[in-house]
Symmetry: C2
Subunit: 418 residues, 2 copies
């Protein structure tokens, strides 16, 4: 079969499965999650063998040590997969939820009911645990999913998906609901992105270039998780100890993730005091500073920042630093250079806090808390498939609700319009 | 100034204005609506003169009589504009609404707050009253709007927008919040569709080809109002009088609109009885029938339907008709040929009603009511800018809420992640 025919076939099967899945009761979807845990446990040895085979081949793909680490399935990561499935099972069923409703004067009963989107295409890299996470969120929310993992994880993903598919049959759900795009041909993604008659949403998870390429080619909506160029702004009215504690956590606790801080803004009135206070601890944490001229005057070892530094998502122990004259400049800087992901203000001034939250145009704005809290679990929303930096459909953490749409269901007894 | 520079300038001005608009209180946005009514009334004569000039030139553009009719501003249509502005003013302010919120175990206070999308680009044809409607919904929901009307309505739109802009100044709102894309150059739309750094959403309103062209070129999300190929399915358990009343209303009350029925499905068990009953009234209403072979056996004057007829949005007194063997076939037919807009079942059988509503994958599904009710006003949602046939972001009537997004606002007192 040629590539186009293969892609069309799996996408059509997914669409057909999505119709059955949408009418399957929540109990069947939860039964699948339970059986998936059982099947994964039963096949644990085979899954680890498959992962070992992937790791052996990793050299061929020129993976970095960090990528090889992400590819490796450890016993604790395997337990994490099972735990994740259990957590998704425990979440409330979004399908069929009545979002709102009314009884119209003419007697029509109107309900706005939450329903699955249909078919998701999930494109991701390396980490095999993501395969199970994404499948769990998709099926729990009543969606079929096509999984396109990286070639470097092909054997691991195959072994995991076989377990998840065996569980589908046991739960009485259609096998087409969960399919691995198994051709090694790189052109498969391009073919799938044309099939908007079958695929309702694409979710690319990976580097910026992957996301841009998908967004350009896709004929269906894309849920994007772009850059996280997150800011900590230390306001004139900040408590400096609290500001330092938040900055160090936001920058250093896990520098490689999207909600880590990449840029520090400091109000001019306390720039000298704060930068002097912060430079030692930042240096101890191994943070490289790239500062504006005023910053470089305070901290001798800071390098001069370029415009590109202020726009960068370093994902590393690098921090851009700028001294600003007032709150207006801080907000304008964030709205210009930021990525609309997560930004925090440290202040005791309520007016400044309120203005910052109202005027910074980002998915999450925080007052006196680390940017690292922008996360579905931390916000109490349950597991997430990504953090949207778009404003359309979903913004911020994307969990079960964000994988649904709604329909209007109207009951009457012969109403006509006059 | 060249076209690119012009488009970039108005889009940037709109973005800047949107920042001011987003922080303006609801009272200022409502004051604008009030002043807009005053200004339109004050300039009524000039607006009618402009419209007369457009009508005089209409011949040059080769407009059909129906298009000329839509272009014509009558006293009652003018009053309709003012009434529409008043209705939007009376709607609750969506901006700042707390959608949900929680207090986390670590003391973080989390709120999900409704905020404007930013800048809208609205592309539409002919009818000058739509100019004021769209502006009212955009500004009330805190969004700046770029209006791209048809060249045939250039003078009318200019006169109306001048009145609306004068009202902006009086309400203390930025003039850039509401701009007419005034160049006659057709390439302007293409330029604007590239500017996703300024424009957050495009809403094309017009024929299918316009919408497809916009969707293909746009680099930002598009809110689409595609075809309305709406079905009425007369189930085995239907009351035939009620079914006929609903069919005639859905097909004939206003055949040129998107929620008019285009296709009739009849259960085989009562096909003979229902088609015999319906053929006289349909003929009296001047409806042309295009039927499946079984339909043509019952109704001598029905023409044979092609596959294209079953997929068509006629927007005219034409109805495709198919006899189906059961509910499954009806649902499968609608999901295959329908446009996901509006579909109705006529039945007294609760199981059939529930299955139809659950399994027909459309924005609105109705039981024992005319498809014509799928409308923001009829659903009690207030004025609408269109009816989305997409599943992403918004589905069905798009009013004020659908022109917003949300952000997470988090207050803490020094929380860090461990």
């Amino acid at each position: 079969m040629d590539l186009h025919a293969y892609c069309e076939q799996i996408a059509r099967q997914a669409k057909e499965a999505s119709r059955l899945l949408a009418k399957a009761p929540g109990s069947a979807r939860n039964r699948w999650l339970q059986r998936a845990v059982d099947e994964l446990q039963k096949r644990k040895e085979a899954i680890f063998s498959a992962n070992a085979a992937d790791l052996e081949r990793a050299g061929q793909f020129g993976l970095t040590p960090a990528q090889i680490d992400r590819l490796r399935l450890t016993p604790s990561r395997f337990d994490g997969i099972l735990e994740g499935l259990g957590q998704v099972m425990a979440l409330p069923d979004p399908v069929g939820q009545v979002i709102e409703g009314s009884l119209r004067p003419n007697g029509l009963e109107i309900r706005k009911v939450r329903v699955p989107l249909g078919v998701l295409l999930f494109i991701y890299e390396s980490r095999p645990n993501v395969t199970a996470d994404a499948a769990a969120l998709a099926i729990k929310s009543g969606n079929a999913i096509l999984l396109r993992g990286g070639k470097e994880a092909a054997a691991s993903n195959q072994a995991i998906v076989e377990a998840l598919q065996a569980a589908l049959l046991q739960a009485g759900l259609p096998e087409g609901a969960l399919q691995l795009v198994s051709t090694p041909d790189r052109a498969a993604v391009g073919e799938l992105l044309k099939l908007n008659q079958y695929i309702d949403l694409v979710i690319p998870r990976g580097g910026e270039s992957l996301i841009r390429a998908v967004a350009e080619q896709a004929t269906m909506p894309v849920l994007k998780h772009y850059l996280g160029n997150c800011h900590v702004y230390v306001d004139r009215a900040a408590d400096l100890d609290l500001a330092l504690k938040i900055l160090l956590n936001a920058k250093c606790q896990r520098p490689g993730v999207c909600n880590a801080a990449e840029s520090l803004l400091v109000h001019a009135d306390l720039a000298e005091a704060f930068l002097r206070k912060a430079e030692g601890p930042l240096r101890e944490h191994g943070v490289e500073l790239r500062g504006c001229p005023r910053t470089c005057r305070e901290i001798a070892w800071a390098k001069p920042a370029t415009d590109a530094d202020f726009a960068a998502e370093f994902l590393d122990l690098i921090l851009s630093v700028k001294v600003v004259d007032d709150l207006d400049e801080a907000i304008a800087h964030i709205n210009r250079y930021g990525s609309g992901h997560t930004d925090a203000i440290v202040t005791t001034d309520l007016t400044a806090a309120r203005r910052f939250c109202a005027e910074v145009d980002s998915a999450a704005v925080l007052v006196n808390a680390s940017t690292r809290f922008h996360d579905g679990f931390e916000f109490g929303l349950g597991a997430e498939i990504g953090i949207s930096t778009d404003k359309f459909h979903a913004r911020g953490p994307c969990g079960l609700l964000e994988l649904t749409t709604y329909k209007y269901v109207v009951y009457g007894d012969g109403q006509i319009r006059t």
